[in-house]
């Protein structure tokens, strides 16, 4: 294996960094999900903190603002007993003219063990993973419109917990797939797990051109796309895209693609409705669906902590082995 996907694995195929779900072997995805289940069970304890990563230092490198994702990584690291430092790079080094490379070298000199990287430019976490000293693990917490692997893994975990093996399921992703790293990573993850039926539903302006190469079927009419699916994944309509005249209005979007109770009837019985959050009620999703029995949106949040704990523990575990 070459390129980005190879960078995140050791020569014997274990997880060294987590950069993308593209090309991530099924066995590793399953190991990550199983490990997350272990962590999920520890989250039911009155004391939720486990001592596994005591003495390790996790540095959150957020070049792009994200309160929610950063918070879940913070909680995950704290619950593993790691020390967490958050650097808001936008307001520090970069604005003083320091290059990314020099910022990295400085953080290495502070004996960090793990970098959680969020960046508005696709590929930044790969750049970092390629250049850090071998004893540091890198986790991609979202890079541009490229990838968001921990979100994809928590989605896979939620799907597997609720509906079973993705290899037996039909999954529809609705909305702005074109600008969504969540959708891209989930599609790669679903493919990795052998999902036979992945559908993309949205207006032509919001669907990327390469879906056919990924064996994703596209639908412009939601009623066609939802027929008999097991899983519905909604995406946040990014309001900033409105200005680019890709969409007429939020109301129009809701009329054409919003998830309503009557549309939910088209899916299989007991299909689940997912959303990476934050949800826009009345835009992507109707109130009665968001608050309904079939929505698993808050499960996704809970599973997200467990997945991030699993990714941290597994990548740092590999670092330990590499050194010994």
């Amino acid at each position: 294996m070459h390129g980005p996907a190879a960078l995140q694995l050791t020569t014997d195929g274990r997880l060294r960094h987590l950069l993308t779900t593209e090309g991530l072997p099924k066995s590793l995805i399953i190991e990550l999900l199983d490990t997350a289940e272990t962590f999920l069970s520890s989250q039911g304890q009155p004391v939720k903190k486990v001592p596994l990563l005591r003495g390790k230092t996790v540095v959150n490198l957020f070049f792009e603002n994200s309160t929610r994702t950063r918070t879940t990584f913070d909680i995950a690291a704290h619950r593993l007993s790691a020390d967490v430092v958050t650097l808001d790079i936008r307001t520090s080094s970069a604005s003083k003219g320091e290059t990314l490379f020099d910022t990295l070298k400085n953080l290495e000199a502070m004996q960090a063990d793990l970098f959680v990287v969020r960046h508005s430019a696709g590929g930044a976490p790969f750049f970092i993973a390629d250049r850090v000293t071998p004893n540091i693990a890198v986790i991609n917490a979202g890079d541009g419109t490229h990838a968001h692997p921990t979100q994809a893994l928590l989605d896979l975990m939620t799907i597997r917990k609720n509906k079973g093996d993705p290899a037996q399921l039909s999954v529809a992703i609705i909305g702005d797939l074109k600008h969504s790293r969540v959708a891209r990573s989930l599609i790669h993850g679903l493919r990795g797990m052998g999902c036979p039926d992945i559908r993309a539903i949205g207006p032509g302006t919001l669907l990327p051109g390469d879906l056919e190469h990924l064996a994703v079927r596209t639908f412009h009419r939601i009623d066609d796309g939802l027929k008999d699916v097991d899983v519905v994944v909604l995406l946040r309509l990014q309001k900033e895209r409105m200005t680019a005249a890709l969409l007429p209005s939020e109301r129009e979007f809701f009329n054409l693609y919003g998830m309503t109770e009557s549309r939910l009837q088209l899916t299989k019985d007991n299909a689940i409705v997912m959303h990476p959050g934050p949800i826009n009620r009345g835009v992507e999703i109707a109130n009665e669906v968001a608050d309904g029995q079939q929505a698993v949106i808050l499960d996704q949040v809970t599973n997200g902590i467990a997945i991030r704990m699993a990714v941290m523990a597994m990548t740092l575990s590999t670092q330990q082995d590499e050194q010994s």
Partner: protein
């Protein structure tokens, strides 16, 4: 894998262990907690035999003390533990007792559930080699201080004590 205690011998050790447990908990059923995975099998057998409720299972992989040298070794999930311990009497069950480090980790997990009233330890086989001041209250069979080396319970049906090939 080489067998060092046959199914018959292992069952005999289990009968011995269950006998001691029964004698102690005459009219009070403790909260039985089996350490994943071998301990959970033994815990189930104890509860089945004594007509007690299904045991809780405990995963101790997040509390091990060898992450620095061995990395993450995931074993299973914690299940059926009460939300909060509050003075309960606990019977902690494992298959093979060696250094005592697993039991130390398991006790730490239990403490993160609250305050147990009393914790007893029941193990099927003791192979000696203790590195911590931990001893079983109930024991199926002692394999002697010089012991048998590394061994592993195979199961859940049939139960037998084996030496793994790769060790």
């Amino acid at each position: 894998m080489r067998e060092i205690r046959s199914q018959k011998e292992t069952e005999a050790a289990l009968v011995n262990l269950i006998g001691q447990v029964k004698e102690t908990y005459l009219d009070e059923q403790p909260l039985v907690v089996g350490i994943h995975t071998g301990g959970a099998w033994i815990a189930s057998r104890i509860c089945e035999q004594l007509h007690w409720d299904e045991p809780a299972t405990l995963d101790i992989s997040l509390y091990r003390d060898d992450f620095e040298t061995s990395g993450l070794k995931r074993s299973g999930i914690t299940d059926r533990m009460p939300k909060q311990l509050n003075g309960e009497r606990i019977l902690l069950v494992d298959d093979v007792l060696f250094t005592g480090r697993t039991i130390r980790a398991a006790i730490n997990v239990l403490f993160d559930y609250g305050r147990a009233g009393r914790i007893d330890l029941g193990v099927l086989f003791d192979r000696g080699g203790r590195e911590l001041p931990i001893e079983p209250n109930f024991l199926g069979e002692s394999l002697g201080e010089d012991g048998v080396g590394r061994c592993k319970l195979s199961g859940p049906e049939p139960l037998a004590l084996m030496i793994p090939d790769s060790e």
